[in-house]
Symmetry: C2
DNA sequence: ATCAACTACCTAAACGTTTATCATCACATC
DNA sequence: GATGTGATGATAAACGTTTAGGTAGTTGAT
């Protein structure tokens, strides 16, 4: 049949819906006998509870949303894995909300999605980008906790955040390049909407300053094709090619590598290359790539744990008749250290990746 | 406040909840004046409808689930992009349900997730793996349409499916290898649970038979590490290394390439390599990889379109008092042609990837 | 025998919507 | 003046759960 309700179970067993409900949820106040009966009957008629009704009645919120802009970056896969890991033992459904259409960020879609999340009374949000202030406010108004990952939260409400320590990461990159003696760097980077940009750029600039290197910052849209074209245009008008290319993230790296290959620019002989974000194929490229590894799985795990804790505390407080709004702690602004994986594209001849 | 209900809007405007409801949904039977008032009031007090209540009352189902096993394969990204594209203009929420824990498929999790999908009265399911027959039956019982992508549906109910034409794809691979004169192939492949395995293997075997080549089929679990170890064990006991390695999918390819690099086996001089599934870095590897491209975005698009049509037809039929169960058509078993992208790992010296 | 304290269960009212049914009013028609 | 006809809106009953408040029945102490 396919649509048995709790009342059907009640009818079949001759017990009230109250008893059935308690029996099914494992709550006390039901004899072992009755419980047995209920479970048997439920199985027999194929009863499966209706989540919408449950949610409505208990005012429960049962899903968690991860907001991303264009999942095309494989970095999200690791992030998601971490999040799933942290939330595995809770009973939330994790949903991915992509605010990009055909790979490019779309503010109207962001609005629509946030609206939608509130409509379905989402329990919490993990966002990989700085949401519009309207949307942040809206979510807060509806008491939906937000955790920012690899993106800057608005200063206002000390929102929790988990971020790579991008500034120090950039210093590591810069210092390593300086050790090679390179003094002429090109930093190809995505727009400031992805706020990690700020710290990454600051680190690179500071490091350059320290070592007396010159750094050019070249902004591209956050996708492979834009990176290709931006770099193409830049090289066309540059007097000489920079000694080093630093790619702000994976898609940009990909676009850049394509261009360099087409141009026949040799790595690292003509131009050394360093990327942000480790990825599966990095060690198999020609040459193997030196990258700054973000450990996005750890970031995801941390974000998931933090969000879970906040939601649970919030539920606790609400049960005791306290405030509905989530409580954020100062120590929930967390940074995860990155690490530099040195391979050959920077000019080193070592390959420190161990086989597994 | 953050929890205005339709009754609050009703109170503020002095109109009944009936009128408010109709006004908000844009249904007829409300004067322009009242509608105006309602909208203004709703905005003013920050009313946002409660999806659970709506769903409960109208019995509507508003999300679509994509079931995958371990998203770690980047092929899913393209697939998802295609699905999202097809469903963009409908009002469903697309959720990803991963039935793998830490990257390995978990049958208990599959059960739990299907249960969950029914609890939340999911509108439809796209699955990338052949679900257990219990779960397929369960979903059918609850009238949830299922579309299988790159996986074999059970023969029973002529479920719709969208698949690469794996048999012909494998013939293409085999034929190309034969042209090179290779006669000793190793096919490294994932378990039969991912049912594309069957056609892929059949194609390879048939092609080998046609060309008088010998093919060894080596089964590994569906992840990088297993592939590495399986191949390692195989090579340890093999008399000589095969002339060709065909990797059944991306994670296996990755594991295999790692091993070959560690062993110092040169590609294609010692061993030619061909993979299934195109991916962004394929052309940048050393050597650039010859792969069979699946066009998973097209597959996703097709699957999304098909599912949308079926759900809508189902809703239509239900409205006219007809049957609730989805109607599947024979022509919804669709195949998408693959194409061989020839680069260098197979032994060819051309690189036919055009720069963009 | 009375009362208290359980246990096991029931009845009925919620939760926030949509909608079937009914009511009212204005106007036109005869 | 009686009647019909649309338009607009109100009332109340659903949808499938959970749960507050209550009622029996049993047991044990007094």
């Amino acid at each position: 049949m396919g649509k048995a309700t709790i009342r059907d179970v009640s009818r079949v067993t001759g017990l009230s819906t109250y008893t059935v409900s308690r029996a099914l949820s494992g709550a006390p106040g039901v004899s072992a006998d009755s419980r047995e009966q209920v479970l048997a009957a439920a199985r027999q008629i194929g009863y499966i509870p209706n989540r919408a009704a449950q949610g409505l009645r208990r005012g429960s919120r049962d899903s968690i949303a991860v907001i991303v802009a264009s999942t095309a970056n494989s970095y999200y896969l690791d992030l998601m894995a971490g999040i799933q890991q942290a939330l595995r033992h809770f009973d939330w459904t994790v949903i991915i909300a992509d605010v990009a259409v055909d790979g490019v960020y779309n503010p109207r879609l962001e609005d629509r999605i946030v609206q939608r999340l509130i409509e379905s009374r989402t329990a919490g949000v993990i966002t990989t980008l700085t949401l519009s202030s309207e949307n942040t406010a809206l979510l807060s108004q509806w008491d939906v906790p937000i955790v920012f990952v690899d993106s800057a939260p608005p200063e206002s409400a000390n929102f929790p955040s988990v971020t790579t320590d991008n500034y120090n990461a950039s210093l590591m990159v810069g210092d390593h390049l300086a050790e090679h003696g390179y003094r002429d760097w090109l930093f190809l980077v995505y727009p400031k909407r992805w706020s990690t940009r700020v710290d990454r750029e600051r680190g690179i600039r500071d490091s350059a300053a320290t070592h007396g290197a010159h750094v050019e910052v070249l902004e591209s849209e956050n996708d492979e094709d834009s990176a290709f074209r931006t770099l193409e245009t830049y090289l066309a008008q540059a007097e000489r090619i920079p000694r080093v290319l630093i790619a702000g993230n994976n898609p940009l790296l990909l676009g850049a590598l394509r261009l360099l290959r087409d141009r026949g620019i040799r790595i690292p002989a003509d131009m050394a290359v360093v990327g942000y974000d480790e990825f599966a194929w990095a060690s198999l490229l020609d040459p193997p790539l030196t990258v700054l590894d973000e450990d996005s799985e750890a970031i995801g795990r941390l974000a998931g744990q933090t969000l879970a804790r906040i939601i649970n505390e919030q539920a606790e407080a609400a049960k005791d008749g306290g405030s509905q709004s989530p409580v954020y702690r100062v120590e929930d602004r967390q940074q995860v250290a990155g690490r530099l994986i040195v391979r050959r594209s920077c000019g080193c001849y070592v390959d420190n990746e161990r086989p597994r």
